[in-house]
Amino acid sequence: MTYLDHAATTPMLPEAVEAMTTALTACGNPSSLHTSGRRARRVVEEAREELAAAVGARPSEVVFTAGGTESDNLAVKGIYWARTRAEPARRRLLVSSVEHHAVTDAAEWLAEHSGAELTWLEVDDFGRVHEDTLRAAIAEDPDRVALVSVMWANNEVGTVNPIRELAKACAEFEIPFHTDAVQALGVLDVDFAASGASAMTISGHKIGGPYGVGALLLGRDVDCVPVLHGGGQERDVRSGTLDTPSIHAFATAARIAVEQRERLAAELADLRDELVAAVRAEVPDAVLNGDPGESTVDSGPSRLPGNAHFTFPGCEGDSLLMLLDAKGIECSTGSACTAGVAQPSHVLLAMGVGASAARSALRFTLGHTSTDEDVAALAAAIAPVVERARSAGLAGLRKSAAPAEVSPR
């Protein structure tokens, strides 16, 4: 099996599996006051400190959640509500047009149900939000902006945003800035304090940790209304019994991912360049989408090291995916799924890609278990697959024989 979908999820690190299975054998609710509870609480608090140290946050800034989607929802809704509660006129929500659906759909929900005035921040042809775009949007009415949300790096096309510049622009107007760093952690230099962000989303299963656990890093002075109400855990911002084994494994994975980040990022970038070169050699008209990865952003790479995203003109992404799957090569159309149906990606559309070209997209993403053999397998398969998918793409466009006109007589 050739697994080229690490941005969807990546295998758990052995150390994380061990941390998780060890913790699973111990009973204890971290909120209980007795010995077992205190033991579990210690595991959680040590994990909080371990995670905080890995991502440049203070332990008190770590709010554990059930993953990226929950963290994004908590940040966007919770901070928006807190801001409008404090200052009812603050209803403007500035969100990049290439965010994950966990952000875009939460923002649209606020616009529909909670009086938010939503502004989509435009991106360039690489999918990047520029500082002047953000500043211009803020300047329209800076005193009424409740929140800005721009992802650290895009999950589909891999383009990295200038997070420090964007956060700084917000800080000048005392506007909270949230960033979804789910794809960035473990491959980019993600440091919460240095970034200047008010809130940051991270997730366990994208970095070699378990599924169903994540965190919102939330600055101590950032007010946030809870989405989940209950026992008052996690600063009263996120109620719910703490998932001790997952949290322990998540923190373990985060520590190791950050320790190994520079080496892994360099390896993945080399492998990614190999993959891009191989695809281009086999399919000369394939188009690499997103930042070319040849410059720097915040003195780091301008594209996620493990991301290669192409459009294959004349092919449908779902045809390519099926044909590659049949050859044991797993990748993604890189777009959001409704009922498993590939809709044209809002990210590509925002980048100015046409609707039909957006249907021709395929995303290959590398991770800590990727090898040269994976790239070789793709290189060997891609040309005939594209040729076949292209003929099917044309077949899909061909209308069946036109019926005779029917007229009553």
Partner: protein, 363 residues
């Protein structure tokens, strides 16, 4: 063979896919997403286009151990089936969208794509028997005459049928359900779908009203020419319809009145007695010969004029792309826009000779 199993999420296509697997074929399951905005859960009698139906199909594929994908055909379906459906009603005719879907989507857009991707055939859960006789397709009625779907498949050409597979043709529905149950498929007891899949509440007139708006016209007595009432558009009517005419006064003879004809240009709906509905001659255009062999002389056959029932012995002849069918006994409610399908009676299942789109009828 490499077989693409079209899986709606219903019991029939599930068992059809299972049988294709059992037959030793290399099977891939595909659910067609036909609605641009699929509902999350099934509502009403609809049985194919929701996220829940896609889920049901996926679970069957899991149990069969075959790959499964959802392919988006919503745009093609909207253009070729829904818009055609609305336009046909607007033209005063009565379409059969299932027939259109088979002809334009399942055995055209989907089949073309499947063939191009390396598949040899598309399998569906239709109830009809298909075999090759001297290399030519032979389409027959199902062994389950109550479920027979040969009528909605009769618009397929030989080149389409050569790549079609109907594994349920020789079975009756009760056995198919029992087989689904013994295979452990959760859809074994799933209710049959009845209404048109893109009109989940079953209210066709309201659906057409939303799409066509009001196109008021007059209800006229076909014999006397007397205006009996007003209506909101000919698209609300079908030839043979009795109920919902909105006429206040009873007919002079006290007998029920039926829709006899629709005139879209003037917006006139002509009504009259049941006897006036009787049709003895049908003219059809765009004939299709599933076997690939066109009628060369007048033949004795049985004609069917809508999806269920309404058959009569007939003689059919074919001249220059026009099919003329003389019925031995009159049929009622023969609506332009529907298909007339010709069968050769046979103890092993009536054989489809051909079909055509009804354009005119005569008494």
């Amino acid at each position: 063979m490499r077989v693409l199993a079209a899986m709606s999420g219903g019991v029939d296509s599930a068992v059809a896919a299972a049988r294709a697997v059992d037959a030793g074929h290399d099977v891939v399951g595909v659910h067609l997403a036909l609605s641009a905005k699929p509902g999350t859960l099934r509502t009403g009698a609809r049985g194919c286009c929701t996220v829940e139906d896609a889920h049901d199909a996926r679970r069957v594929a899991d149990i069969l151990g075959i790959p499964f994908y959802v392919w988006d055909f919503a745009e093609r379906f909207t253009e070729d089936v829904i818009e055609n459906f609305v336009a046909t009603y607007a033209a005063g005719q009565t379409p059969n969208p299932c027939l259109t879907c088979n002809e334009k989507i399942k055995f055209a857009a989907l089949l073309d794509k499947a063939i191009a991707l390396g598949f040899d055939a598309v399998s569906t859960g239709h109830y009809a028997r298909l075999s090759l006789v001297d290399g030519e397709p032979e389409l027959r009625r199902s062994a389950d005459i109550g479920k027979d779907q040969s009528y909605v498949l009769a618009s397929l050409r030989a080149d389409q049928l050569r790549h079609a597979m109907f594994p349920l043709g020789a079975s009756v529905k009760a056995d198919v359900r029992a087989e689904a149950s013994s295979r452990g498929l959760a859809v074994a007891e799933k209710p049959d779908s009845h209404d048109i899949c893109f009109i989940p509440d079953g209210d066709t007139r309201a659906f057409l009203g939303r799409n066509l708006g009001e196109r008021p016209g007059k209800l006229v007595d076909a014999e006397s020419g007397a205006v009996l009432g007003e209506h909101a558009g000919v698209h609300g009517f079908t030839v043979g319809q009795r109920h919902g005419l909105g006429i206040d006064a009873p007919a002079p003879d006290g007998r029920p009145r039926y829709v006899l004809a629709l005139e879209p240009v003037s917006g006139t709906v002509k009504v009259g007695s049941r006897d006036a509905l009787a049709v003895r001659e049908i003219v059809g255009t765009r004939p299709i010969w599933p076997s690939g062999r066109a009628l060369e002389s007048t033949v004795d056959c049985v004609a069917q004029v809508r999806a269920h029932g309404s058959t009569a012995p007939a003689q059919a002849s074919h001249v220059d792309g026009e099919l003329t069918v003389r019925l031995d006994e009159p049929l009622r409610g023969v609506a332009p826009g529907q298909a007339v399908v010709l069968y050769r009676p046979d103890a092993g299942g009536d054989v489809v000779l051909g079909s055509a789109l009804i354009t005119a009828t005569g008494r």
